[in-house]
């Protein structure tokens, strides 16, 4: 099969173009270096299937960041039939150098002048034919976002890869990667003769929005209020959806499943209904709110506001030994910690990268969000919910800042801070939809991998040995709980909650599911039963512990592979467990001492 690679600088819309061509949905983010895994897809070019690979964004083939090395290693080790160089047309005057570097490698290449729509609006005109002639490379103008020019691109790809040009060997590419010069001068001359850029290039809309959002005094408060309002929006719209889901699952059980399985053996009935069904459906009820959450997150990421957050927060982050990008990674971690950890690859200095990676697992991810939505429904009035949630997000940031302060002496760096600020963009409905669908898939994969395993284990532990009442102190779960009691009693966590916490180590989605299994209830019945068993001080202590201790096995695995150090992984686990216990202890004993 022919192999085609997409290559370009960050913020050129490369991932968007990849999604457009592949019909699949690579993650897109309006943030330099977000594409961290190599995404591949099969695409139809002409009458042939070809493999399309999305390489990480890079500024320079000779750059020193991890992403730039990934691209270099890829090109030196894999033979490609075609490289499509994606450039942002509005920044052609500096990005063309990348095309010239690729041309000098001798790999067959097509130059794609992307973001044609933005260039047109900015009044930039490019003579693509003249440019093609000068750099000796097919050149197409297109818009990956709106799809203009994509059919022509597929046709062009087919032409090039089916043309039996002698393919260049990968080791030859490796040799040629070592030297190129003169590119600066050549770029200047090509740009001068083929591109017309208005002398005063102003993106009025972006400038006007920046005047407000980057205001020296109001910028930061506006940012915090906007994030609060966005979350408020998610919960206001999402909560009724969640109620509907819970009601549907409840009805399905009473109307269909209970009669259907009434003749099954008691243990099978219990395993299937009280175990798997209750557990999985309690978690699945959160799917709408999680989808909504990621839709909003993807809009914020693609909008360009996150890079502005890096600008606003950098002075403060510098005092913690981090930089503005670290703050953005933490915000990305609100979605899922794993891609946020991978995102630290854009940092060159190991000290800063490790310090950032130590803080990211403390970021309140969407899986933990489910626990909190659930527990808040159990313990607090609807009018208090938003404030409790907000305080948990603040607590998440607080533990991150504390962690960085404590460890900044151990992970020192003098990483330069230079970051591109993209213009504000609004994602298309297609982009938003693709992202939402991807999250549903992601949830279903996790569900089949972890949640079913977790709830079945919890069901077994709470129902065996079979001669004792289920979920009592004599079951295996009760015995395990008793074992941990000396540690967990001082922070107000009882046996039931302890079992949920232990399995939460695998993945936080299991926590709520296992509570349903432990109590043998679901929906409103579960919530009212738990409300009787717990007071808010215990519940809050449980939430604080869940917030701070190690998020999931995937995060641990990512920490290890990204840091290439088991010692660092263990540091992260021990630190977060210790911090979780201390914070919960201070809260629980403090609240009790104050008479709550």
């Amino acid at each position: 099969m022919k192999r085609i690679a997409l290559l370009g600088m960050p913020n050129t819309g490369k991932s968007t173009l990849f999604n457009r061509l592949s019909g699949a949905s690579a993650r897109v983010g309006n943030w330099p270096g977000i594409t961290v895994d190599l995404m591949c897809a099969k695409i139809l070019t002409g009458s042939h299937i070809a493999e399309l690979i999305d390489l990480p964004g890079l500024y320079d083939l000779h750059g020193f960041s991890d992403d730039e090395q990934v691209v270099r290693h890829f090109l030196s080790n894999n033979e490609v039939d075609l490289v499509c160089i994606v450039l942002n047309s509005t920044q052609i005057d500096r990005q063309l150098s990348l095309a010239l570097q690729i041309r000098n490698l001798g790999i067959p290449a097509i130059l794609l002048l992307n973001m044609q729509d933005e260039a047109k609006r900015a009044g930039i005109t490019i003579d693509a034919a003249a440019m093609a002639a000068q750099i000796n490379m097919s050149t197409l103008q297109l818009s990956g976002k709106y799809g203009d020019g994509c059919p022509a691109l597929l046709q062009k790809m087919a032409e090039v890869i089916n043309h039996d040009a002698p393919k260049i060997k990968a080791d030859e590419v490796a040799k040629r990667l070592e030297a190129d010069s003169q590119i600066e001068l050549e770029m200047q001359s090509i740009v001068n003769s083929t591109v017309q850029i208005p002398t005063t290039l102003n993106n009025k809309t972006t400038d006007n929005i920046d005047k407000i959002l980057l205001h020296p005094w109001f910028g930061l408060p506006i940012f915090i209020v906007s994030i609060f309002l966005l979350f408020q929006f998610i919960f206001t719209v999402g909560a009724p959806l969640q109620d509907v889901m819970a009601w549907l699952f409840d009805q399905t059980r009473t109307v269909i499943l209970d009669p259907l399985l009434s003749t099954a053996p008691t243990w099978l009935n219990g395993l299937l209904l009280d175990g798997i069904y209750n557990g999985v459906s309690t978690v699945a009820a959160f799917v709408p709110i999680i989808i909504l959450f990621f839709l909003v997150m993807s809009m914020v990421e693609d909008s360009g506001y996150l890079s502005r957050a890096a600008f606003l927060m950098d002075a403060f982050m510098a005092k913690l030994g981090l930089d503005g990008r670290g703050f953005v990674m933490v915000l990305m971690g609100f979605g899922c910690n794993v891609p946020a950890l991978m995102g630290t690859r854009v940092m060159r200095s190991r000290g800063m990268r490790l310090l950032t990676m130590l803080t990211i697992p403390l970021s309140l991810c969407s899986a933990r969000l489910q626990i909190f939505i659930f527990m808040i429904a159990v313990l607090f009035k609807p009018s208090q919910a938003a404030w409790v949630m907000f305080s948990l997000y603040m607590m998440s940031l607080f533990t991150i800042f504390i962690t960085a302060l404590i460890f900044k002496g151990r992970f020192v760096s003098n990483e330069p801070f230079i970051l591109e600020l993209p213009p504000y963009r609004f994602p298309t409905a297609h982009q938003i939809w693709a992202r939402g669908w991807q999250e549903v898939k992601h949830f279903l994969i996790r569900a089949s991998k972890f949640i079913i395993f977790g709830v079945v284990m919890v069901w077994l532990l709470t129902n065996f040995p079979s001669n004792v009442p289920s979920a009592s102190v004599d079951t295996y779960a009760g015995q395990i709980g008793a074992l941990f009691a000396p540690i967990l009693d001082p922070i107000g966590i009882d046996t039931h909650l302890a079992i949920a916490l232990i399995f939460g180590f695998v993945a936080k989605e299991i926590v709520v599911g296992s509570l349903a299994v432990i109590y043998g209830l679901q929906g409103d019945a579960l919530i009212s039963q738990m409300a009787q068993n717990l007071d808010w001080v215990q519940g809050m202590s449980f939430m604080l512990f869940s917030l701070i201790y190690t998020p999931c096995l995937s995060t641990i695995a990512t920490l290890k592979t990204e840091s290439k150090s088991s010692a660092f992984m263990w540091l992260s686990i021990v630190w977060s467990l210790g911090l979780a216990w201390v914070v919960s202890l201070i809260f629980y004993q403090g609240a009790r001492a104050l008479g709550f």
């Binding site: 500096r94 600008f311 002075a315 230079i418 600020l421």
Partner: protein
């Protein structure tokens, strides 16, 4: 010699040099890729409070960088 660091917010200038002694190769490449080239016009859009980063514009590219990096860019007004 004026440095980018000395410019007031809103000021225009032309890049006249990059401090080769204090800029290592990786940083130099990143600066060049982002458009910091001798002869280019640069505008300071704003400066963050508390000695935070500068927001500058070169051609059609907006960039934020810290004061420590802005001290490495030489300019003429």
């Amino acid at each position: 010699m004026r440095l980018l660091y000395n410019l007031k917010s809103g000021a225009f200038a032309t890049i006249s040099g990059i401090d080769a002694v204090n800029v290592d190769q990786p940083l130099m490449q990143r600066l060049i890729a982002l458009g910091f080239r001798v002869g280019k016009q640069i505008q300071v859009m704003r400066k963050a409070n508390f000695n935070g980063p500068l927001h500058v514009r070169i051609g059609s590219t907006d960039i934020i960088l810290r004061e420590s990096e802005a001290k490495l860019i030489q300019v003429t007004e």
